[in-house]
Symmetry: C2
Subunit: 450 residues, 2 copies
Amino acid sequence: MNDKISLLGAGLIGSLMGVYLKKRGLDVAIYEKRRDWRKDKLAAEGRSINMALSHRGLKALEKAGLKEKVMPYTLPMYGRRMHDEHGNTYFQPYGKDNQAIYSVSRNTFNEILLEEADRCGANIFFNHKVETVDVENKRVRFLLADGSTKDISSEVIIGSDGAHSSLRNAFECQTRFNYKQEYISHGYKELRIPPTADGGFAMDPEALHIWPRGRFMLIALPNLDKSFTCTLFLPFEGYKVCFEKIHDGKDAEYIFQTYFNDAYHLMPDLAEEYDRNPTAALINTECYPWTVNNCLLIGDAAHAIVPFYGQGMNCGFEDCNILDELIGKFGTFSWDLVFEKFQKIRKPDTDAISTLAMENFVEMSDSMADPKFLIRKKIEAKLHELFPDEWVPLYSMVTFTDMSYSEAYAQGKLQEQIMDEVMRDPMISHKWDSLDFENILNRVDAVRSV
Amino acid sequence: MNDKISLLGAGLIGSLMGVYLKKRGLDVAIYEKRRDWRKDKLAAEGRSINMALSHRGLKALEKAGLKEKVMPYTLPMYGRRMHDEHGNTYFQPYGKDNQAIYSVSRNTFNEILLEEADRCGANIFFNHKVETVDVENKRVRFLLADGSTKDISSEVIIGSDGAHSSLRNAFECQTRFNYKQEYISHGYKELRIPPTADGGFAMDPEALHIWPRGRFMLIALPNLDKSFTCTLFLPFEGYKVCFEKIHDGKDAEYIFQTYFNDAYHLMPDLAEEYDRNPTAALINTECYPWTVNNCLLIGDAAHAIVPFYGQGMNCGFEDCNILDELIGKFGTFSWDLVFEKFQKIRKPDTDAISTLAMENFVEMSDSMADPKFLIRKKIEAKLHELFPDEWVPLYSMVTFTDMSYSEAYAQGKLQEQIMDEVMRDPMISHKWDSLDFENILNRVDAVRSV
């Protein structure tokens, strides 16, 4: 068989890329190792159950004509609702009025995208597990469900096959391929807050809930069925509260009663779920080059990031959008040129979001419980309100604009420097709303010109 | 088949480890993908032809009873001989009188070690190329020369299979295995200075020769047959002098005439060799853990470093020595314990030498041509002469002692700080030998206590 373009992996990124390529009139085959989950729903394997769609992802969907199809399956979250150890909660808006990120179930979402790829005419093959990729000859050998193998060759291979990408594994043997995989010290486990007895949400459904506890935290996102998916992030070992020291659901109940007591009372199946659900690890990967001999990595295959900025999927969708733009601009006469441009443009941005995602764990789990941090956020919100175009908080640049991640990162570092200075005033908590905000804004140019 | 201990790779490290394990009375099999090069000499594939043995390596050999067997095949190099662009040379001793590093051919050396492993009773299997490693069940599938496969299982598997280790590849799929491979911007090509017409060395054989040219350099090590093996280190691309811009041997001749004119006149076969010999890349790898389920990585498989400190092999031999010591101390009752101890003790040291090796390229190719750098070296040599135990230059700590690499690194950083201060004096070149050396020495404690 000789496909023009073979996409490895029919996850969120592969499916959207398939749609884009078909809309360009190209010949596309998508190979997926799992069974067709449209017919036979499978739990996503060790991956988070729901995602947070934000501006970059929505923009990519809109361009593919998919935004309207997806929106009915999402729930807007307008801010973070922090839960302290006494059961008090504090709401912190993500941005300005009506700016929200959207909770969506991975399975439903994947189904919509894959159906669209199918409808556009992509050939989709399930039960095709990559066994080997011969990069030089652009040949892939698949292991099929019956144990037999199938070989295909292709003009172009795009690896949208996730953090453990087979195409990237094949790249690893190429001379001068740089690669790094790093697991962070924390893992996670998914749990559930079911709907209330009368069928409603057990908490405010218009927020992402966080129980920040320093070295660990619990978060919860709303689902369409009025449940919440909770994710418990703990160090694997070495701390008072860590996965190694929680031997079973009974231990987990004790931990929840101590640290997340308000949530505990909403989780009747905690012990059982704790025992049943896997504890998963969190990987960060970086590699370069992304392209070898008309083969290209996109999404997590090129840059798997930790989930603490809610950007993994959005960043992958932006990959698809940018790649599609380059195909539009340069055509398919020279894939080499398109792929080379893509990696040159995109690598600094994915490096930036990778760093931000890593840094944001501290912000989510620790700083949010700190009153000074909340004052800081308020000053930044005020600056944004007064100078909506000149001072945009880093979170907003990343989440609600499509400014390049690396530009947002650089701008964020400037603002951080200025805010560090502002916060050095020991009386800041008392006088923050009478600050000379225009003066603070003007420091941006001063600092930038240094 | 069920071996007690399977070693993957019969290179320098695997062979020495085999000797150690046999001397402990253990059941050892060594599997090697290449043909038996005792019968059928093969050029080492894309790896350097000769190595520099120094203290750590010699100590490990001595403990295995191998030092006396190896020494006759080595040539002492007492210092660096630098060649400037005008053909002048400058000698810089490595250490004190009689301290030397020893040039030795990889092939001859490997032969000696492997014969010793054989003599001690290790079972050695050639033409066994690892196809897959099943870490969980400690099974290895080999591809044999006739195309058939062979499966073995083992109580313990030790991967001494180099920078592109198959065992490490198998570890990569293990959850929470951290891995990084990074190619540096420079590559290398080996060339040769033959003996003179009357059968002698064409240059001083008691030195390692360096032609430092800033972003690139040439080095040469003496061989027993009175030739020198030269290694040309150039950036792959992006500079005036780089591999990309040297299209063939003719271009190489032009470059040599311009930058290495004295060497050029000693290299009658330069153009032909340049065309024939491969251009090789330089990889740095770091990973952790080194052990999973009674499988262990040692040598380059655990930590491949760049060659600029001449420590790759010495560090690998020290791995063998330390592992053997731990087996002596804890026995083989619990391999888990031994391997766990090994990685805990050893990882900070291999990280340190990895960093030093990376940093030393600048020292070798650039600083050595700088007169201020030479003054600096002279001050350090004087300090070492006056206070032989209190001030040992970093190069000497690494090369002529078995102080742990991480301790040498830390001590070296302290000394660097002090020397930076000393060198800040604009008149230093004129007054360096009348400095108050005792005062300089005393700053070590002052800086350390900060």
